[in-house]
Each structure stands twice: as C-alpha cells, then as structure tokens.
Symmetry: D2
C-alpha cells in the first residue's frame, strides 16, 4: 500500500477558488486525498447554517466550504509562524513546523462528524457530532482514517486528540479551538459573505499579522489589540443579528417538532410511515451505525418531508408543509422568570383554538457567551485571549478593552415563545373566523415584541 | 375571496438581505405572496448552477436567490423608467408604469418551472422547464396561479405571455428576455459572487443609468457603449471560464449516465430498483403530472443516489458513488470533424479494459453564441442591442464595438471526450496493474489537453 | 439675473462617480452651481485627513470628495423620509420635504470653511473654520453666497443657521450635526475606504433603513439597534486606530513647530523669509481677509516649505525638510499626572544634545468622547441617540447596548511625548557619536511604548 | 559608511497598509531606505492621474502609492517564481532569485523621475521623465543613488539599466516593462479603485498563478489565457473610459495653454510675472538642473496659478481661474482627415467673438495601442505576450483570443476639438448677448458630439 511521507509536498501546488479567501492552497497529497474522500465530500450536502437560509437567503453554503476555509486560515498562520517564530530550542515558545500536517488535518476535519441540521437532529436522536468526528477519524472503515493512517499508524489518533483538545502542544490545540481560532475566524467571515451582512467582517489580514505562538499557546501582539477587540465585537454582532435570528429559530422549532412527531408515529407503529423513511429507521430505533449516519444529509431529510407532506397524520403533514414551504411560527420575547403565568394563559388560548401545544408552541433559548477570561473554578473553562507586550509580558484582553470587558462573562441572547403566525395575522377567511375572537384576547398580552401583563381588561 | 388591487402597495416596504444587490425591496402584496408560495419556495432546493459547485465550491446558491435578484433588477429599471422616461402620449416610446406589476411578476417567476439539474434531467426524461413554467403560472391548481388570479382573471395569462415573448409591449418582453436582460444581468453578477471569480462583474449601476425604453423595446444611450461592451465580454468570460468548465461538464456526464442507467434498469424491470425511487417512477414511466414534477429537487435525486450506491448493479452503484463522492471523468479536447478515427481507437482501448463505453465515455459539447445582431432569415432570432445617439437615431452594438464585433455571430465553446480518470492517472495497485499497459498506448494519442495523431510508434 | 425656483429640478439628473457611494446624484441646478463655485472647487486642494496620509498612504482624498459624500447621504435620507414618513399635519413629527433644499445645501457646504491642515493652522494663526464657513455662506462677495441668494434672499442665512445648529427644525439640524449624522457617516466610510482599513465599514444601508424623523429630531427604529451600535464601535475604532495614530500626530507636531518657527522669524523681521511667503504674510500679520484665506491650500503650504528648506535658519530648514521628506518624531505614552518629573529629565537630555526643546519636543493629546447621552448641566451638550419602539416610545441607545454603555461618557485617547527619532535609533556615524552616550541613559526611561520610572541605575 | 549586504533582510518584516493590495510588505533595509528618501517622498506630492481627478473626483492618489504597488506586485511574483520555478542550471529558463533586489528596486523607482502633470509639463518645457529617472538613480548627489550604491558600486547602474530595458536578463526587464508588467497591473487596479469604476478590475490573483519565467522572459500558462485576455480588455476599457475622458483632456488643454502663456509672458520680459514664479524660472530659461526639477510638485504649480489669477494679463488670469476652478472647455469629435475646412470656419467664429484661438481652442489626440504582437520591422517594438502549453511550446496571445485579436495592432482613441463652453451654453447675460448670434451658426456644425457638414443653411 502506498504510504505518504509525512511532509510529502505536491509537485505543483493545487488551488480551489474561494469567494472568501480567494484561493485555498493545497500543498500536501494527504490534504488533497482527504478532500476527495467520501466522508468529506458528504459535507457538500449539509448546509453550514441550517435554517438560517430561511432568513438570509444567500446563506446556502455548505460545511464543505467552511472546512476548506478553516484549513486555509490555519495554513496561512503556519506560514507566518514558520517564517517569523520558528522554534530554535525546544521549549522556547516558538513554532515547531513539524506540527504543520497534524494541525492542517485537524483544521480540515474538525467538522467532519456533522450531520444535517445537527443542533436539532442531535436533540431528537441523541447523536453527538463531536464523538462522530472522532469516530470517523479513528475508525478503520472510513476513507478518512485510511488516508491519515498512511502518514503514520498513530497519526489518526493524533489528529483526533487535537480536536479533543488533549494533544500535548497547546499551540496546535488553540489554533483549532480557542476563543479566537481558525474555525471561528472562517465562519464569521464566510457567514457574513454569504448572508450579505457585514457585521462579521473583522480584519483578518491584521489579525494574521499580530498572532504569534508562545510557550502556553497562541497570543497576539499588543499593537493588534484593537483588531482583536474588533473580532470580538464582530462575533457578538453575528450572534445577535444572524445566528439568533428569531425566524431561523422558528424554522428550527418546526423542524424539531416535525422530527419529534415522526419519531412518535414510528414508535406508535405507523407502518406506512416506516416504509417511507428507510434511512431514518436506524435512528428511530436507536440502532444506528456510523455507516447509517454517513448516509444522511439535508436532501435526505427534505426528501422524507416531501413524502410526509402526503401522509395521513395531519400534524406530520402540516409541519412538513410548514418546513418545506417556509411558514415560520411567530414569536415574542419571553422571560421564564416572570412570564410563566401569562405563558400558561396563551397556551390555553392556543389549545382552545384546536392546536396541540406540544407541536404548535415552543420556548426557544439562544444564548452565547461572547468572551470570557479564564475562571479556574468553572467546569467549561475558556482559554483567555492573551496580548503580549514588547518586553514579552502578557495581559488578558478584557483588562485593556472596555468594550470586550462590557461583554465578558455575560451570557447574551434571549428566550422566545413561538406560536402559529395565524394568531396574530389571520389571513384566510377560515382563519379569520377561527381566530378573530381569540385574537382580541391574545394580542392584549403582547407589546413591543414581548409578553406583557395586560393593563386593559378585555372588552366584552 | 380577498383580491388584490393591481397596484396595492404594502403599507411598509419589506426587504430581503441579498449579498449581490444588498437589499431586495418588495413593495406589493402580490410579490410577497408569490415568494411565499409553495412552488416558489421549492426553488430553494434547486441549485442555480447544477454541477458547477463541484468545480467552484462556493457556487451552492439556489434558483430562489437568482429569481429574487432578477425581480430586483427589474424593479430598479422600472423606477428609472418611471422617473425619467414616463410615457406622455401612447406610442411615444416612453414607459407606461401600469406595466410594472406584470413585468415584476414575470421577472420573479421566469425560472419557476426549473427542476433539479434541468439540463440533464430534461434530456433523459423529456421534460421542458419552459413549458412547465407556463403551466405553473396558468394551471388553476397551483398557489402561484391563485395568487396571480387575484390581481385579475387574465393576469396569469399575461404574465405567461411575457415569458413566452408574445406579450404586446416589447419593452416588457425585452426586460425579461433579450441579449441584455434582467435575467442575464443577475446571473452573471450572482454566479461571479458565489464562485468567487470576478469575470462577471460588469458595471450594473452604469448599465442602469444608460438603459432606456423606446418604441420597439429597450435601448442604451450611446454614452454607455463601453459599459454594454463590458457586459458582453463578462458574459463571454463567464461562459468560457465557469459555465463550460470541463470538470462541471464531467459531473454532468456522470449524472446523465447514472440516470440513463437507472431508467434502463427500471425498464428492464429491476423491481428492487423501483422500490427505491418512488418519486422518480412517474418519470421512468413517462406518466408524470405537474404535481409529480413539483416534488422533485436536488435532494430527492441525491437521496436516491445514496440508496443506489448500495444497489447490486455495479454500473449503477459505481456511477452513483462517482457522483456523490465527486470522482469526475477526465477529458480532452476533441474535434468531431477530425478526430473520429482516433476516438474509435481510444474507445476500443477503454472497452478492452473492461468498461462499458456507453456509461464510461461521452462526447460533450458546450457552445454559446455570445452575441448576435438580428438576422432576418434565421429561425432563432435575437433582439439585437441598440444604442441611441443624442439625436434619437440608433446604431447596433457590434457596429461600434470591435470587441463585440469579434464575438458576434460566432459560436464559442468546445467539444470534449470524457473517459475514466484512471486511464491517465492509475492510483491504486489494482488500477496500476490493469491500466499500465493500456496507458502506454493511450497517452500517445493525447497532448496539450487534446486528441492528436501520434507521431511516435508504440514502443514494444 | 436668472433666479432659481427653490425646487427647480435638473431636466436630467447628473451624476458624479464616487468610489464610496457609487454615484453622487445631483437633481437641482443650485447644487450643481455650488459644486462648480470657486470656494467649493478649492476643497479639491485640501486633504480631508491632513497628515494621516503620512501613515496611511492611500488617505490622500480631499475635503471635496467628503463634502459630496455628505450631500449624497443626506439626499438618500431625504428620499427615504419623503417616501415613508411624509408629514401630514404640521407637528406630527413627519418629514416636511420643503426642507430638502436647505438641508442638501447645508450638507454640501458644512466644511466649506476648512483650510489646509486646519487643526494646526488654526492653533498658530487663530483662524476658525466654522466661523469662516458661515462667512463664506453669508458674505455677498462669494460665489457660494450669490448662488444661494438666487433661491431666496434669506436662503443663505437659513443654510448657515443649519450649520450653526440654530435652525428651527431639529430634524434638519440633526441630519447634519448629531452623534450619528451624514457628516460622520460619510467620513467613517470614506476614510476607511481610502486608508484601506476596514474598521469604519458599518452597515450604511441598514442604518438608512431604520433612520426616521420624529417630533424632536432624528431617531432609529429599535430593530436597528445593533446597526447603530456597530456604527458607534466603528467610530470608536477609527479614532483609536486611524485618527489618533501616533505617527500622523507626529507629523502634525512637526508642522506646528515649523509654522511656529516661521511666524517667530517673521516677527523678528527676517526679511528674506517674508519675501518667500507672500500668501502667508496676512496671517503672520494677523490682518487676513476672507479673500486671503481662500487663496490657501495644502500646495501653498508645501510650496513655502520647499522654499524654506533652503533658508538659512537651521531650525526652519530642518523642520521643513522633516515635513516634506516625512521624518516623524518618535513618541512614547506619557501621563501628565505622573510623568512630569521624568519628562523634565528627558528634556534636559535632549537639550544637552543641542536641540531646542521648543521645536524638537512636544506633548500631544488626542482625546475623543465616542458617545454620550444628554447631560443637562454640561456646556457642550450632545443630542443623544434615540431608539423608537413599535408603540412609539423611545429609549436612549446606551440603555440597551452594553457595548455603547461601556464607551459612554468616557473620554478615550492618549497623551504622548514627542522627540527626535535619532535619540532611540541613531543611524548616521555623526548621530551615533552624538547620541550613543545619551541614548544609554535615555532608554532607561522608556519601556513598552511608555515613560517609566527606571528601576536599574545607569551603568557607568 | 554602513553598507548593505545585498540581501540583508529586516529583522522583522515591515508593512504599509494599502487599499489595493491590503499590505505592502517590505523585507529589505534598502527598500525601506529608498522609500524614506527625499526623492521618493516627493512622489506624494504628484498625483498619479494628473487632471483625471477633475472628472473622477476620487482619483486623487499620488505616484507614491502607485510606486509602492508596483513594488508589491513584483515582490509577489518573485515569491512565486522562487518557490515554483527556481533555476537549477544556468540557462534552464528558471528564475534566479539573486535578481530579486535589482528588480524590486527598479519596480519601486521606475517612476521616480515624474514631475507634476508630466505629460503637459514635458511638452512645454522639454523635460523627459525617463531620462530624469535614470539621472536620479545614477547621479551621486541624490539620496536614492547613495542608498543604492551601498548595495554595490555598480548597483545603481544595474537598476537604471532595468528601467532602460538594457539589462541582460529579459525576465527582469519584462517584469517592469512589457505589455503585461507589474507597472500596468498596479495602475489598472489602483486607478479603478480610486476612480470608483470597475473596468480595471481584472483577476490579479489568477494572473499571479499563471505567470512564469522562461528562457526569453515572462510567459503565461495556457490555462490562464482567459485571465490574460481579461487583463487586455480591462486595459482597453480603462483607456477608453478613464484615461481618454474628454473632460480630463480638456483640463490638460487648459493647463497646456496656461503654461504656454506664462512662458510667453516671461520671454516677453513681464517682470512682475517672473517675481511670482521663482521655482519655474529655470524652466522658462531652460537652465534647469536636477535640483530645480526635484523642487517641483503639483502644489508648486497650483500655488503659482493662484498668484497668476491676480495678474494683469487677462489670458493668463483667465486660464489660471479656469484651471483652479475647474471650468473645462467643451469638445467635439474631430477628424483631421475630413474636418479641417469646418474647423477653420469654427475658429473664425471663435476669433470673431474676441477669443485668441491660440489659447482658447485646441486639437487634442488620445491614442493607444491596446496590444500588439512583435513586428520585426517596426521601430518601437513590443514584447508580445506568450502563452505556454503543457509540453513547453508557445503561442502568441492574439492567435488564440479573438477578442485580443480584434484589438491587436489597431490604434484606438480619438481626436477632439476644444473650445470655450460658453459657445454652446451661454449662461450669464453678457455671454448670452455675446454668443447668441454666433451660437446659431456654430451649432449647425455639431451633431451627436461630432463635427458635421451642416445640411441646413443658416436662417437669416
């Protein structure tokens, strides 16, 4: 079996045209082979942003393109490190370029375990894309594993350990997973490009000028403080304006309820259903293998939804239609601390109108911690962003940036209550007849996009 | 049933964020309802460029986004026309803004009849996306029709006639279909944006400044000659570099052969096969209805390919794998006029290696006529591009542009011969054993990406 | 004399190509005439960012281009307001489009009084660009005045009062002068474009979607909160990274000292000098008229510097050379509160080396208040940014944005001590001989770009 | 005196932010010193496009920024060549990286001899910017020379010979001077960026991928044919739409006539004049030295124009005003072959109105040869663009591109007749009285922006 030299370069660099980074440059045969592998090509059929394209129609890009982008940013950082900060003696905090191949492979493969609409799918079917990523890399049956194993028998394990953050060199780990890593840098730029918003466009070239290795990982020259600060603000803005958009989350709610309904019908032995979702059966049954998982993609789900649209179960058929034809639920801000009693009243109204509230209402939370410094006693610790002075001393980012400080350690986001749109905007004659009376009551509880305690009594 | 006023404006303009045009502005309720219709939402699941994303990985955008873009360009032109060239007396060659709604609807819906990978699909299954576009607009069963019919009973027919180019006002027809129409303008810009190439980026704002209505259709002020010329060059460049890319066409060849094989197996009554492609059966049988057609999308095809990958038929399984995992055929330039004898020799060699040449080789042509002036005696006539002088006289574009003249009336493109890549680059030990001897012979016929008459005899 | 109709439109809209806004659209004859006026054309010869192009070499754009940009943004806002928020009854808080011409003229002319390197020039010669702006608009001798007076005799006064913030309609005033006005929006985008940094690229199109008039001025829909927040951050970033750049300020220090020296020599009756600076004499003498002022531009100053380079006075000649050939002083952070004693020591060292510290050292402050809410008891009050809820109630920006809150009311910037570069980097043999001994002492006081209390004694 | 090692690298790469290339990377001390030299800094005060900013207001960028850009493109090409095409044995056609420093210096300095508005200035004063470039490099008095001489005593001569195209290595010469060199590549992109047009934006990254050295110079891989073709079209478009713009040429005509008038007055011993143009006297006298030349810049000229505006000579004063206040002449297309008789009639009319036709009319030609192949018998030969096939054979560009072929060897541009605008658009009462009768006659000869033979007799 032909094997790779660990650093076997391609005789001629190959490129992939990329709208975000102009070109993706491939210089190793192993990278080219990984890109050509079955498991990696499958990422073409899985959208990077799930239901976000229902809100931002340009955001139809796949996890394939993002994975190439993370690879490319990592490659550029390696080039900078090798040129400016090559290690001279072990332990001097410099960059050891023999780590290049392992970090490039980890960058390329860090999302290889993702399936369709992972967030929702995982909740319903108890899958775990991170565990599957490791499995794809380490299982002898996959093409990815076989390619990696040609470098060295222990190479797949090394790549997996980078992704699991247990690899010994903290520089390698932090390039892939930290609060400012190649993964985040690519998705912010890429998602901004494809959605068409420009909140995410921080200054990548400047970041690449000030990033540098040190003994305990990755740091940034103090002269680049504002560029790093700007990256944190961009990240925050993308979460607030794109990733947490109420309409995208609404489509996720519908997807969640649709899969939940299908699973329930399957469990209740609706045979017809089963016939029409062969590729999902192992997941309904919780007997799925890696092979089963690798057959899934966005198209498989939407194909079953197309079939379910014609099923007899009205909830399944209706939810499938809502997903395929983009009929999002409406939503309002909601506080689980204060609004529970009113929530109950609204649910009663919705139920009175004939809706099953298990499938037609939801509470959805979206929260993110834009940045945090290292807190030793917490379980999920974060590698804080370190800035390096000219004399080699360090300072943590939020200590010098009041903007970052204002976002530090504060969970941001909101909680929303979802319900069918027709409650607020009855359109068809049937809807008007059905909802008009309820609507008068319903709307008293909603003001300025939030649930309120009504001050005016219902007119009778 | 609630009806629209033909010019019912939304109380508040709605917008969709678009990476190409910044915002798509919707000002009429009927446009909003068409976008929300089932048939239009379906376009989200059909890629604009078919197999091109196998070459340019960013090109994953859908026909949905393109259709919004064509609408938006048309809307902007209507605004310009209404402000600067409003008709005063009938027949004065000005713009009659009561045409706005019909042209906006035609712009939005001009591609509504497209299915997955239309070009290939239509060849195998004798469908016709233009006829289906008209059917969707005029058939009383569709949501699109019902929405249009609310404007006026004869409104769907009018919209269809614009797309069929039989509508009475030539300005309206040419905005949607001519050599420089809103459709082409959007796809050049959009495809350039998503592929990441910049050949397609002509100067839209300048074109919109010089476009103007006249008695017989649409013209351009002479001062904008170079902007129009640049558009023609951009169009030519996109065809040469993106649309005709040999690798994208290779994936199309594989798709073609895969569907052909599936159809053949179905016709030969491979029952197992049939079970696994419910949604394609009406097409295998040639009994399909509009409803059957509207269920298809890219995901339905790839789902069946995933199932076919595990089928027993080795050709079906292999071609499905090649498509899903992106294993394109290799190709070389070929001239049907001169290279037929050598083609035969190559096919013999390929067959000797055990390949069925019906499924493993192909001749693929890609030709385009970048621009032409009006030629009265030809069947497929083109509306030539007219430039208007300050005194109101006209001149046809190619008469004043030597660049355009050099492209005028000349069909551009190439013919390529496709065959399995392993013939030129055997990789696995098995491939090497199999192909090495043939390879020595095979490669004598290929030089500089083209078929040649070998000058050196085969060494023995 | 031909007069304008207050709303006389051009028969055909005219455009100027603009790299930031694509096109500047001119629709009124009076605007075209103002652009063509002598006083406005003069702005072509005055750089927008003064000495910043010594740091960011692309930033060579003039006040002419910026003034067109402010006009264009204002025009677009007027269009939005007229379409969506036209006033129906007086006092309803809507937009009265009869204000269009006055606000457009004020936008175009708001910087007309600027001279070369205003900031520095004004300090040395006690000029005031704001007062001169008003004078240009109201003085009967200027072309600008004569053009404005054709609209109506009281029109120049109205335009001036908008710039002076005394105009009765607060919407008009705030479009030109508030914490988020057309002036700031243009210069952030324009300066970002020409410097090549991308900190300043907030989302103008989104801001233009959410801006709206109300009774007391200009507000923003709450849905656009994050876009406004992003604008504040962009503004902050541009100040920190571009406008306050230490090297640009260093060149300003040199310019300041050079003009100060020339004035001193003039006052001391150096006759030769006077002959060579005819156009500056009225400023040396403090007898200048508007006509004298309008003859000045960047080129006039640099021409005199070229002549002064050959003057006998060594300080004048040296400073002129430093400015023309871009030889900035070096600088370090300095705190007037703590570092005064050390400053004194450094100045002594510099004087010992033979430099006149009046001309070869400086303290330079750059401070900005990125945002503030209205504080009733302060002298220089700011119009706070108001966000409007769906029900018409308001909230001040910093109350809903923690990022903005973190910047609110806090003066940002720094104080730096400037001195000749050769103290830290002696280069020529002569410099090395001269500075080496001092350098050993000097550098003890400087660490991490700041003045420190040295901990190590000077080695002897 | 400290000397450079020919390849002395900076300990840390330095960068200049550039809006076109993102960053200019400086890696050698000698490059940094050249940029800091007096002669190079002077380029900041000379606009790259002369009078073009009167048409495209954004085009205020200097020759300084362009020179940095040419350097940067050359540097990137050197990197590509060194990595992919390093020479192994002398004469193998590969790239010898010991040429790097000489080509980088030549790239940086290729325009160092330019003065203000060179084209016009040279015609009036018989200067020659190319000869001056060589003089600056080789004259021992300049800072540039002294810096270059530190590399090696014969180094200045080598750099000059690259610019003079006599250097022995054709690869080095063609990188700086050929039909597709670093100079042209930078100015097309830069001028497009600053004007805001997008005709000039060819695909630089793709060109940099396909450019390669060979034995006789620089070639391009055949796969990049369309990218090279696109570059030729961009170049052609920039000439047609930007560089040859009639209004920019009109301002050049005014400048030409203004300098011609000043010289004439000087020669006629107008003493007052002389006093006011010290820095021009050596040019009036034709006694100028290099030192005199290096004192000139755009600001020096405009300063004298400001003084001349107040001179007694009415022609000098009027032309100075027209230049400073941008009052261009009007123009029409003109053919010296056919239109001479009519030209004469128009000149008579203009003279009858009291204008001196020597100063108030002009014929201006702008012609360019967009591309040509090598023509052995011609004096001014061009290095043709060679494309390289996979087998190492070559083909000349116009042989495979019909677009390029259509532009090859054909001189493009036009000839225009310039005259005062008031003849076509009298505005003031005085102008109307003066020009109305003549105007009726004058306009008979002009139609569709060109001179015509009038068909209708003058009504009397």
């Amino acid at each position: 079996m032909p094997r790779y030299d660990a650093n076997q370069q391609l005789p001629m660099e190959q490129v992939f045209r990329d709208p975000v980074h102009d070109y993706i440059h491939v210089q190793h045969q192993v990278i080219l082979d990984l890109i050509d592998s079955r498991e990696f090509q499958r990422l073409r059929r899985i959208k990077q942003l799930g239901t976000s394209s229902f809100t931002f129609h340009g955001a139809e890009h796949s996890r394939f393109t993002h994975s190439l982008g993370v690879y490319e940013i990592t490659r550029r950082i390696c080039d900078k490190f090798a040129r400016n900060y090559a290690t001279k003696v072990p332990g001097d905090g410099g960059w050891d370029d023999s780590e290049r191949l392992v970090v490039l492979c980890a960058a390329l493969l860090h999302d290889i375990g993702h399936g369709p609409y992972s967030h929702t799918f995982e909740r319903i079917f108890q899958t775990d894309h991170e565990a599957i990523t490791v499995e794809i890399i380490t299982s002898p049956t996959t093409e990815v594993h076989q390619i990696l194993a040609k470098v060295a028998l222990d190479f797949p394990g090394k790549v997996a350990s980078v992704i699991q953050k247990t690899y010994s060199n903290p520089q390698v780990v932090q390039l892939i997973s930290s609060q400012i890593d190649a993964d985040r840098m690519d998705y912010l730029l890429r998602d901004a490009y494809f959605t068409g918003v420009n909140y995410g466009t921080f200054d990548l070239t400047r970041i690449l000028r000030v990033i540098r290795p040190y003994k305990d990982g990755i740091a940034f020259q103090i002269s680049g403080m504002h560029a790093v600060e700007d990256y944190i603000v961009s990240r925050y803005q993308m979460y607030m304006q794109v990733y947490f958009h109420p309409v995208s989350r609404s489509m996720e709610v519908i997807l969640d309820h649709l899969l939940k309904r299908a699973k329930r019908l399957y469990e209740e032995s609706d045979l017809q259903m089963k016939n029409k979702a062969d590729l999902l059966v192992p997941f309904f049954d919780q007997t799925f293998t890696l092979e089963d998982y690798l057959k899934l993609d966005d198209g498989v789900l939407s194909t079953y939804f197309t079939l379910w649209r014609d099923e007899q179960d009205p909830i399944l058929s209706d939810l499938a239609t809502r997903f395929l034809d983009r009929k999002p639920f409406k939503s309002v801000n909601f506080s689980s601390k204060y609004d529970e009693p009113i929530l109950h009243k609204l649910q009663v109204l919705i139920q009175e109108a004939g809706y099953d509230i298990d499938y037609y209402t939801a509470i959805n939370n979206s929260y993110d911690l834009p940045y945090d410094f290292y807190r030793p006693n917490q379980i999920a610790n974060r590698t804080q962003i370190e800035l390096m002075y000219q004399d080699g001393s360090f300072i943590e980012l939020s200590k010098v940036s009041e903007i970052v400080s204002s976002l530090t350690g504060k969970v941001r986001g909101d909680e929303r209550f979802y319900f069918p749109k027709e409650f607020l905007k009855p359109k068809t004659p049937k809807e008007i007849t059905l909802f008009e009376p309820i609507y008068q009551d319903f709307k008293r509880y909603i003001k300025n996009d939030a649930i309120i305690q009504p001050t005016n009594p219902l007119e009778e």
